[in-house]
């Protein structure tokens, strides 16, 4: 069995700050991490490997520094790690990203056939959840998104059964391999990397591919050139000029504050009063 896991290195968005005056992003010192959603995908792949044996390959497209993310994947137990890096990839949107990644996956598949491709539900920087479906569509693989459980995997029959989160319930889906699975958060708990694996990860040679190594023939389809979308502007959310009306009472006792607020809501916000008590029909509200 061979599973390929797509992982992305992202800035830890919890630590991104916007400069209060210039509204620019202060990137300095913001650590790069493995996209948290992708760790669930990696762990799920490793669990299948523990059960069925086989190999797990981690693939990341990014700048040379993204090597750190792949070393982490190796430390957790991935067998192989491929960094897809080329200046031509810069500025890619999701269509161009899925093009480059699917070319690389095809190339991996040529040397060792792939049964499953795993991706995270979404990234915390792009936040689009589009790259997974994009890769599946390009590689003509069956697509299983928002998977909350892998029920069974039958390598001989080449079938997989999963639970897929959908609106209002869970779909139990059966499909044929190879398939692309995007993994829902919380499906598992990440293991700890063992000391041996950490040492191995440090020494393990990374495979580094540029666009030719990945056999990307059409350079107009990658990076900025290959991206149908463009950012036309970046700006800070409109500050509301509103400032809450602070309820104050003489003495400030909770019950007086509460009663004042309730009276205010009912007298000045008929819509709210109506929501709270639908028997307040419009006629009676005007009384």
């Amino acid at each position: 069995m061979h599973i390929l896991v797509c992982i992305k290195q992202v800035p830890d968005s919890a630590q991104i700050r916007v400069h209060p005056v210039t509204n620019t992003i202060m990137r300095q010192g913001v650590p790069a991490i493995v996209n948290p959603y992708d760790l669930y995908a990696l762990e799920e792949a490793l669990r299948l490997k523990d059960r069925y044996r086989g190999r797990v390959t981690a693939l990341c497209m990014g700048p040379p520094q993204a090597e750190v993310a792949l070393r982490k994947a190796l430390a957790f137990g991935a067998d192989e790690a491929i960094l897809l890096t080329d200046r031509a990839f810069a500025g890619a949107d999701t269509l161009a990203t899925s093009y480059a990644l699917s070319a690389a996956i095809r190339q991996v598949h040529r040397s060792l056939p792939i049964d499953l491709v795993f991706a995270g539900k979404q990234t915390i920087d792009g936040d689009t959840a589009q790259v997974g479906p994009g890769i599946a569509t390009r590689l003509d693989m069956q697509l299983l998104t928002y998977v909350s459980k892998i029920v069974s995997l039958d390598l001989a029959a080449r079938e997989i059964v999963v639970h897929r989160r959908s609106e209002g319930g869970v779909q139990v889906l059966k499909t044929r391999l190879p398939a692309l699975v995007t993994v829902l958060e919380g499906i598992n708990e990440m293991r700890f990397a063992s000391l041996t694996d950490m040492f191995r990860a440090e020494r393990h040679p990374l495979t580094i591919w540029n666009k030719d190594d990945a056999r990307i023939e059409d350079a107009t389809k990658v990076g900025l050139k290959g991206s149908p979308t463009a950012v036309s502007k970046v700006f800070a959310p409109t500050p509301t000029n509103r400032r809450a009306e602070i309820i104050e009472t003489h003495g400030g006792q909770p019950i007086d504050l509460a009663a004042t607020l309730v009276a205010k809501l009912f007298s000045s916000r008929p819509d709210v009063a109506f929501a709270i008590n639908p028997s307040l029909t419009p006629d009676r509200r005007s009384l």
Partner: protein
Amino acid sequence: MTSSPAQQAQASRPAGRRAAKLDERLAGYKGVWVFVEYERGQVHPVSWELLGEGRKLASALKVELAAVLLGPPDGAIQGFCDQAVQYGADLCYLACHPVLKDYRNAPYTSVLTELVNRYCPEILLLGATTLGRDLAGSVATTLKTGLTADCTGLAIDPENRGLAATRPTFGGSLLCTIVTLNYRPQMATVRPRVMAMPAPDPARSGRVIEHPVALIEESVVTKILDFVPDDLIAEANLPFADIIVSGGRGMKRQENFRLIYELAGVLGAEVGASRPVIQAGWVGAERQVGQSGKTVRPRLYIAAGISGAVQHRVGMDKSDVIVAINEDANAPIFDFAHYGIVGNAMTILPALTQAFTEHLKTLKRAG
């Protein structure tokens, strides 16, 4: 809002890429489409919200607004075409086939792609649901066009008639506007409750165009073995609640959440929470409000012990009235709440429960 030159300079792509003139072939793409999400006898409300928004875009462009409905030939689906028209569509493309009974990526992608290639809309909008995101990603890839996810604002650029799609970026701290260059259709997804629900107009009439589907079940690889509906009681129906009482880290302990539930009980409200509360396991993840949780727009949102971080705010600041209870008078939530009480939530919440109970009693007596 207009942006300063400094913000403009932030744009990560050179403005020169904004194609002034479309290829002739692409200029033939006309009309705004909304994919209407129909499953198990119901239309997802986000589709009506999108028709409301699509109406505005279509009017700005002076083109028609179309609803696209895919599903099984179950008799009910026709009625939803009429509803789509009431919500603003001028026409409805209808594709019915048993293969389309429940959502599966491949047949839906194939039919929607076929429709787009045949009728060539310039804009295609879908709800950012698990279905919409799955489908949009595949359709955009098949059509090799641009797709902008989770938009919070849609507008037409009067200069080039292009769609300007605005969405949060960098963990919600900034917004960015994304345009699709020389590609059509321009695709976007929008989360439920981000756009206002339009009022249906029963007087409207429109056309239905039926699209034949040439698929057979045997050629669809993925099979649905079962569907397990969510336990409706356990699954909070937050996005559509009229009143929400939410608690944050300031509630200190799980036991204190009882105070939130008590107030919610009196008001007939749903309970919401900020992310740290979910991470601490005090309430289930389905109750998270915010960027990585649900977007809500109730008439009344009461936030207790919530600081008002931007990631929480983006999920709730379209509420009609926001009441904040926080012991810190400088908490950011007071910058966008309508009413505030500065004080300890543990004493204010029970007082509010009592005050609302009494007020409702008085109304009943008077009534």
